[in-house]
Symmetry: C2
């Protein structure tokens, strides 16, 4: 059973219906490239279904987010639009290169340590974390140095 199937099953289980539009939005969100915003998802979904409307994409994303099947994130300060990705991937964080715009995902056990610290020392119960970094990636940094010489 694929991830999509599980998600669709969850939809049914909550009394909702499986429509071709929802299938398509899910497909787009789980495919690469990831981190698309609502409009980009709409454009990609429309490649397969020219009839789908932007309103439906927004409504579908809201439903999927509410059910925890999709995660919305703000990835950098210059892009004030929510980006979406499947919620089935393991916890990870994002780095956006200010030069080439590429998004790098990473994981680090040290982040979990921060959470444990906060739970222990402040009694916080952490449900969701968003660690969004901005800077220059290896390639762009090398390039910038070269052009400065």
């Amino acid at each position: 059973m694929t991830r999509d199937d599980q998600a669709l099953k969850a939809l049914r289980a909550s009394g909702r219906r499986i429509t071709s539009q929802r299938r398509k939005v899910l497909q787009v969100v789980e495919a690469s490239p990831r981190h698309l915003d609502a409009e980009a998802i709409y454009l990609r979904a429309r490649e397969n279904d020219p009839q789908i409307s932007l309103a439906t994409v927004y409504r579908t994303l809201a439903v999927l987010k509410e059910m925890g099947l999709v995660e919305g994130r703000f990835l950098s300060r210059d892009h004030p639009r929510e980006h979406f990705e499947g919620a089935d991937t393991p916890e990870h964080y994002h780095f956006t290169c200010l030069s080439c715009g590429r998004i790098t995902e990473f994981r680090s056990p040290r982040v979990a340590e921060v959470f444990e610290e906060l739970e222990r020392e402040r009694g916080l119960s952490i449900q969701h974390a968003c660690l969004c970094l901005e800077g220059w990636c290896d390639a762009c940094r090398a390039e910038n140095q070269a052009s400065e010489e």
Copy 2:
């Protein structure tokens, strides 16, 4: 010399002008409560200057952000509006309580360790970090447990 004075000086140094509106926006951003969005800043600024316009607040925030005097952040997934705070405070991160909405700031040297790891292992040069956590604060968690019994 206060923080405001330094900021105003920086404005002048960049060939910009110090206006009463800019003073007020700066004051509001640096005062508490922090983490206001553009409209909240507008409402507070208007208490002292009923003539100030929302457009000016947006334009001022853009200028201050561009100069690095103010930082904009998205603090939680349910509030897709940028929140602002003075850029003069030491690096810190945010936790938003999903129940009472209160924002808690915290610092942790472990976060810097994550950055060092990324710089060392992936060659990333990190310019800005946003760690936004969501969950329940100590008080709300206790309350929820009580009401579930």
